[in-house]
């Protein structure tokens, strides 16, 4: 079995020490934000207490207080005009307001402070998530976790996500063929059953068990070649049914094959048909498959159900390819 991927020690990409350092830095940032948050909360407390005070002051015409005189001295005195407040609006501008108006101003200030607290909390949440991510990474790299990286291989990539569909779709595919009465071969059915089995296995083995996948792929050729040799028409039909969706849905994974498919088409189908067919959009992929579109026009009724079923199935493509060989 060929080697398909690389295995990297996670600790070689993210050394535990470095990750911890990063985590510590984020923790510092969190602490800083925490301080800001505490400061803001203190502001809010001040704001509410001054608001209470401002609302209470006009209850009396005057209040006896110690009037500060500089920072270190006081005079005994009293507050007068208790409903006239001078409020700093910012930038050295003051406004004379009544107690109620001042309370309104303070309420608005309080709202602004709350908004700041909210945004700060959101930032802290983000930072905490970041910190926990760093911690997890540090732990993982300390535990010796490895990263397995595998190249994007066309068939493998197609079958992996679509495994669920193909498995269920394969059976109906056979049935349709049977109804047509064009093809009935016990060996073919047996092979398909085997394929389905392997696919189930693969699904269970789940993510990236390479060996299973390869087995399955190797199995495919047998089934398809058998099908095609026994019945030309079914072969081409299946090709068509499967190719159609493949073109539209899996452009990326089949990007490499248009030429191959095209040449095959030329051998198995008549040239003139291909030409009379409307050209598909200018993508290399789609032009390559004009031949298959012809086929559908030719036999549209029987193929309709297959097309729907076969949507997204990438398996038949490989079968098709194998047939060419």
């Amino acid at each position: 079995m060929e080697k398909k991927g690389t295995v990297t020690q996670l600790s070689s990409i993210y050394p535990a020490e470095e990750t911890q350092k990063a985590s510590r830095r984020v923790q510092d940032a969190i602490a800083e934000r925490e301080q800001q948050l505490n400061q803001l909360k203190a502001f809010i407390d001040d704001n509410t207490s001054i608001m209470n005070l401002v609302q209470k002051l006009p209850d009396e015409t005057h209040h006896n207080i110690m009037v500060p005189f500089g920072k270190a001295a006081f005079f005994p005195g009293r507050l007068i005009h208790t409903n006239e407040l001078t409020v700093l609006l910012g930038e050295g501008y003051y406004a004379e307001r009544t107690s109620k108006q001042t309370a309104e101003i303070l309420k608005r200030r309080g709202k602004a402070l709350e908004a700041q607290v909210e945004s700060l909390k959101a930032i802290m949440q983000d930072l905490k998530a970041e910190a926990s991510f760093f911690d997890v990474t540090a732990d993982e790299s300390a535990e010796g976790l490895v990263e397995i990286r595998e190249d994007y291989v066309e068939e493998a990539s197609g079958t992996l996500p679509a495994a669920g569909h193909t498995k269920s779709e394969n059976t109906p595919f056979v049935e349709v063929g049977d109804k047509k009465g064009a093809y009935e071969d016990e060996e073919y059915i047996r092979l398909l059953a085997r394929m389905a089995e392997l696919e189930k296995e693969e699904e269970e083995a789940a993510k990236g068990d390479v060996s299973n996948e390869n087995e399955q792929i190797q199995n495919e050729p047998n089934s398809t070649s058998g099908q095609i040799t026994t019945d030309e028409e079914v072969g081409s039909l299946s090709v068509e049914a499967s190719e159609m969706p493949a073109v539209s849905k899996e452009v990326s994974s089949h990007g490499d094959y248009p030429a191959l498919n095209n040449s095959m088409m030329n051998t198995s189908l008549e040239q003139p048909r291909e030409k009379k067919e409307v050209q598909a959009p200018p993508t290399a992929n789609k032009t390559a498959f004009t031949g298959s579109i012809v086929e559908r026009a030719h036999d549209i009724r029987t193929n309709m159900p297959e097309q729907q079923i076969g949507t997204r199935s990438s398996k038949p493509v490989s079968r098709f390819k194998m047939q060419r060989k």
Partner: protein, 147 residues
């Protein structure tokens, strides 16, 4: 060996002397502030005396830069902060006497701190010279500028 010593000296400068210096300077700044407060107060009281103001109107900061008018009916009695949270009632002349004594004290404190700062700076310089000798560098090449 030598490297070790150099490292130790540098650590001493960075971890001990420099923080000490910063701390001393901060302390002195605080005293400066106090001095300014009292000199302002003295000037204000002298002003009151000169203009023989016996009652006045002023604005009191309630917090958050919100001001309200306040009336002082009798300015001849003033309460002064004498430290530790105690306020003593003085007449103008008594207050001026107290302020003078306080200012003297503060300026001597400032002098003390200034001397302390100078000595810390001298120590830093000396240790740096020691490091220079250890490394056998030519004089004046390593002239660290700390403050």
């Amino acid at each position: 060996m030598e490297q070790d010593k150099v490292r130790k000296y540098e650590e001493f400068v960075d971890r001990r002397l420099k923080p000490d210096l910063v701390h001393a300077i901060a302390q002195r700044d605080k005293v400066f502030e106090q001095q300014k407060v009292f000199s302002d107060l003295r000037r204000n009281i002298e002003n009151l005396e000169k203009n023989s103001v016996t009652s006045m109107r002023t604005m009191v900061n309630l917090g958050s830069e919100i001001y309200m008018q306040a009336d002082v009916p009798d300015t001849r009695h003033i309460f002064l902060d004498v430290g530790l949270g105690f306020h003593v009632e003085f007449t103008w002349s008594e207050a001026l006497n107290f302020i003078a004594a306080r200012e003297e004290k503060l300026s001597s404190q400032i002098e003390e701190y200034t001397r302390l700062i100078a000595s810390i700076k001298a120590q830093i310089k000396m240790v740096c010279e020691g490091i220079r000798e250890l490394l056998q560098l030519p004089v004046s090449e390593m002239e660290p500028k700390y403050y």
